[in-house]
């Protein structure tokens, strides 16, 4: 039974926007990572879309930046309970990347440089719900926040927004990723507080 520490409270912002259950507002941008920050040279960076053994699409940094991109502002919700409102990003919509790909895949496994993985239903990556983001608050995305590019899927907990994204594998069946294999919810909707397996 924890004792209450007199005079202690978390840093909170004065904003009164709607928070998902169990979250606290922060004005920081905490850096959470399960491993070393990869340092990628842009001339070696690539983003791929695979299905099985087939490489369907590949972009290098130059061709990736030639794709149409959007600037958008979203709220972020981390399973470690912090939420950050009104973050501005620039990125390429995953719809753009999946355009003209014919697939009956139901799921996706996203993989990052450094080995991290996370899984999502493919429909959650479509319809303006997901981007490969490369600018944050009008500046180049810093390595500790996932730069040069990360996946951003703001309607799910932030562990689904894989940093240092390398590619997406289209799958016929769902395959749990790094945290999903060890207690974290397979889907991760912050509004239904889907943090853990038992939720």
């Amino acid at each position: 039974m924890a004792i209450i520490s007199r005079g202690f409270s978390h840093r909170a912002s004065a904003e009164d926007k709607k928070l998902p259950p169990g979250q606290y507002v922060t004005t920081d941008f905490p850096v959470l990572s399960a491993g070393p920050t990869p340092h990628l040279s842009l001339d070696k960076w690539e983003f791929t879309i695979n299905e099985g053994d087939n490489l369907l699409r590949r972009w290098d940094w130059k061709s990736f930046l030639e794709l149409p991109a959007q600037t958008f502002t979203v709220d972020l919700h981390c399973v470690t309970r912090w939420s950050k409102f009104g973050t501005t990003w620039e990125g390429v919509s995953v719809d753009t990347l999946l355009a003209d790909i014919k697939t009956d895949a139901s799921h996706a496994l996203v993989h990052s440089y450094g080995g991290y993985t996370t899984n999502l239903p493919l429909p959650d990556l479509r319809k303006m719900q997901a981007w490969i983001a490369f600018r944050f608050e009008h500046e180049e995305l810093a390595p500790e926040h996932g730069g040069p590019a990360r996946l951003l899927v703001p309607h799910l907990y932030l562990w689904k927004s894989a940093k240092w994204v390398h590619g997406i594998t289209l799958m016929q069946q769902d395959t749990p990723g790094f945290w999903e294999r060890l207690g974290y919810h397979n889907y991760g909707d912050p509004w239904r507080e889907q943090r853990y397996w038992s939720d």
Partner: protein, 94 residues
Amino acid sequence: MSSHIYDYLDGNAAGGELSKIFAADVTVAEGQCAHCGSTKRFAEAHLYMQCPGVVARCAVCEQILLRLVTVRDRALLDLSGMTYLSFDTSQFEQ
């Protein structure tokens, strides 16, 4: 592609979290990395705690040794990155 930024702690920092499950002090245990075969004290592992869990990586090859997630009343432990952990049991003498 590994980092030169020193953004990790070491196995000592996980002692408190690990004491929730282990009666033994894991930080003094010797472990073998399942990826590269290096053997080191767990205290020397590179520890990442700023994430939805504790992740310990081999100081030599940076592959994952151990992951620990605490979710409400459960602790989930993934030890698949270690071939073994070796403990001195004389500390358990009754």
